[in-house]
């Protein structure tokens, strides 16, 4: 059983805290998707919140026929469209099929609008992360790249790298720790 389904079943059984983990896991993705429809950042957050509340209310009906994110994604899209309709604004003509949900972030039309200051910081963030990955030992860098850029499971990475799954898990963890350390330095939290 997938972790998402396990969490959903816990929420269905009355464990509200399990929904917090789902929020933590998917909030950035959902905000990003909604920003493609609702360009105002404050409004987008309200819509994202509404989408998660709707998902919480509807979760007893979730039977696992699709992946949890696909289901959540549909709710987010519908909530965005309803929001625009309620404000007499037309939803964008371009629509994205739920099957493409995982690649949604690639659509250039949906990139959110940053201020010059935030763009600078974000550009810096990107640079810091790339530098952190470059500085990793080769095996660790390969593991995190296969996971994050290729979307491979631990088992697949273990096959590719010809090592135990536990080693893959450990390498990815070390990579994240190193990246996190660099981000902390950037924000001043690491001092």
């Amino acid at each position: 059983m997938s972790v998402d389904l396990e969490l959903v079943q816990r929420v269905q059984a009355g464990d509200k805290k399990a929904f917090d983990v789902l929020i933590m896991k998917y909030q950035q993705r959902i905000i990003h998707v909604i920003t493609g429809f609702v360009h105002d950042p404050v409004e987008a957050l309200d819509v994202a919140q509404e989408a998660f509340i709707k998902a919480y209310r509807a979760i007893p009906n979730f039977r696992g026929d699709s992946a949890f994110y696909t289901w959540l994604y549909r709710i987010a899209i519908n909530t965005s469209k309803n929001h625009l309709t309620s404000r007499a604004r037309r939803p964008p003509a371009m629509d994205v099929d739920a099957m493409d949900a995982t690649n949604f972030y690639d659509a250039p039309e949906l990139k959110d609008f940053d201020t010059p200051e935030s763009s600078l910081l974000n550009h810096e963030l990107e640079g810091v992360i790339n530098k952190a990955i470059d500085e990793l030992p080769e095996d660790t860098a390969t593991a995190i790249k296969l996971r994050e850029f290729e979307g491979m499971s631990y088992e697949e990475i273990a096959q590719v790298m010809d090592c135990p799954i536990g080693t893959v898990r450990s390498r990815i963890f070390r990579a994240r720790e190193a990246i996190d350390h660099k981000i902390k330095e950037l924000t001043g939290e690491g001092e």
Binding site: D4, L7, R29, Q49, R57, Y105, E177
Partner: protein, 188 residues
Amino acid sequence: MMTVNYNEQLSALVDGELQGEQLERVLALLKTDVQAQQQLQRYQHTSDVLHGFTTKLHPVDLSERLALALQDEPTHTMRSQSKANVLAFPSQLWKQLSGLAIAASVGALAVVGVMTQPENQLVSTPIQVAAYEVVNDAKPQLASSNRWTVGEPEVEERLNTYLVDHNEYAGASGVFSYARVVSYDAGQ
């Protein structure tokens, strides 16, 4: 207390690669340990940045405002699921009833089919053929088999009248007619 081992498990949770007891333990830890929650958030942020879901140094966190908003929402119970189970039972019942209905329909069609068969077809059933074999001369016997032949003409007339009346009352029922003809021949 957070350990490296727990952090590794939190990292695996981000990838959806945690199962069994470890998942249980980490989820239990996340309920109470703020440090674990923050660490999970950091790992998730790293992953989100690498995926391009966010480019923000300080990502927006909906957790708190959602926790407030969901405070008034009722906690889900298994009742909603058991409701689904209750609803699932009649669907099985409906399946069984549908099967019965189909069986009944097939039965009814078979009966109607027999009823609508012309009598001359019934005459040519194997039972009738068996009767022909006994008497050798089939056609005269068949013609005479529609009449009751006894020694006394009065009795014969009454019996044949009875047979005709019975046939009329039996009316359109080919089944009764069929049964009568068979029993008649067998009794002969």
